[in-house]
């Protein structure tokens, strides 16, 4: 079997089959469940429009996916180095490119697992409203570059910093900062600082596209500028990860 696929399966399998990986997925599921239960248990939230709820769910799934990607990305490089398993991997007769692509594939599998896990929740909260399918598609299209970008960023940071703990902390701080539009109200985001931050934040790009598709019923095709923005983010973080990992391999 191709070395890239083997490594990707190993990385992804760690998430889907190991106790630790299942524990992460369970934590994500519990967060989504709590959000769902809040929606039906709180009078104020239960009156939210379906489209608004699907939009919120899209934002939460993207944030959780990015969080999972940061954890998996940090673990795949900095974690392996601390556990002493990175050097034996580099000593195997596998090209460095294959190892790199395999680890990137593991990131994609982790996000795919998270996305599949989120689909029933999308259905549960949004099946009676508008644009549910378009919303799920836009999370797949725009959320994937954002989430994978954070995974690559965490891999790159993990390759550069000396300890897994400091790598994780640095990546988490960056993620918290980027995901702040989820916490800020629309009025704060409309301020000049908020608009400037939105203009360079890939998370905001994805959220704005979700808003346009799910709430404003715009077409997914019309979100191409947002999509391109998230692809630029993916390209930059991928380059950072490749460059940083090559330094480790040397």
């Amino acid at each position: 079997m191709n070395a890239i696929v083997l490594i990707a399966r190993k990385e992804g399998g760690d998430l889907l089959l190991s106790l630790r990986g299942l524990g992460w997925l369970l934590t994500m599921a519990v967060v989504l469940s709590v959000f769902g239960l809040l929606l039906v248990g709180n009078t104020e939230l239960s009156l939210l429009d379906n489209a608004q709820v699907v939009y919120d769910m899209g934002g939460i799934v993207t944030a959780l996916g990015a969080l999972l990607a940061v954890v998996v990305g940090t673990d795949s490089v900095a974690g392996e180095r601390e556990r002493g398993t990175l050097v034996p991997l580099l000593l195997t007769p596998t090209s460095r490119t294959s190892i790199l692509l395999g680890k990137l594939g593991g990131q994609a599998i982790a996000w795919a697992a998270m996305y599949v896990l989120a689909l029933p929740y999308f259905w549960a909260v949004g099946s009676t409203g508008q644009n549910l399918i378009d919303g799920a598609i836009s999370v797949a299209l725009l959320g994937s570059p954002v989430v994978l970008g954070f995974g690559f960023l965490a891999m790159g940071i993990g390759a550069r910093l000396s300890s897994a703990r400091s790598s994780l902390l640095t990546s988490l701080i960056f993620l918290l900062l980027s995901a702040s539009p989820l916490l800020l109200g629309p009025s704060l985001r409309q301020s000049s600082v908020g608009r400037a931050f939105d203009a360079v934040n890939p998370f905001s790009g994805a959220l704005n596209a979700y808003d346009a598709v799910i709430i404003d019923s715009q077409t997914i095709v019309a979100q191409f500028p947002h999509f391109a923005f998230t692809l630029v983010w993916l390209g930059l973080t991928l380059s950072f990860a490749v460059y940083s990992l090559n330094r480790v391999f040397k």
Binding site: L17, L19, V125, S127, T128
Partner: protein
């Protein structure tokens, strides 16, 4: 003589009745800014003017808002728990010729046709004084349905817990 006695009795009765008559009047109206076709989740506001039209002060005034659903087959009083936090107003005294104006904000929780009324009583007044009715209709809005959320929100973590147990037994 008999006619004079009768007229005197009538006069005494009218005089005593007017002495006991409730001098309050309650005027209820929907605020002009309310949405024309409200739906679940919208806010409505009602306004009352409670006036003392009598010659003496009214002590211990209490006014409260009531809501009833008047859809055919669903006639029932509505518990205002989730609808409004402003359910009553009190005043220690309302002087003759003065009025008490109150706003009654309301959050629309359920679809249906409703009738709202504000009632007022005073400490010594013998009768309850109701306002005129204001009717309104609340449109249905697609919101989250609990019967879909609960199985998913409870089921998926249980499935994952099961997977973890299975994995733990195998290892």
């Amino acid at each position: 003589m008999t006619l004079r006695t009768f007229l005197l009795s009538i006069a005494l009765f009218v005089a005593s009745a007017s002495a006991w008559a409730e001098p309050l009047s309650v005027n209820l109206s929907a605020t002009p800014g309310n949405p024309a076709s409200p739906q679940m989740g919208d806010h409505l506001n009602f306004h009352t003017i409670i006036r003392n039209d009598g010659p003496t002060p009214v002590d211990g005034l209490i006014a409260w808002i009531s809501l009833v659903q008047i859809d055919k087959g669903k006639e029932q009083p509505v518990d205002l728990e989730d609808w409004s936090a402003h359910k009553a107003v009190t005043a220690p005294q309302l002087a003759p010729g003065t009025s008490l104006e109150t706003d009654w904000p309301m959050r629309l929780i359920q679809a249906g046709t409703y009738r709202v009324v504000v009632s007022a009583v005073s400490r010594n007044g013998p009768n309850l004084t109701p306002s005129t009715f204001v009717d309104f209709k609340v449109r249905q809005k697609p919101v989250v349905e609990s019967q879909r959320v609960l199985p998913v929100a409870v089921g998926i973590p249980i499935v994952l817990c099961g997977l973890m147990l299975w994995r733990r037994r195998r290892s």
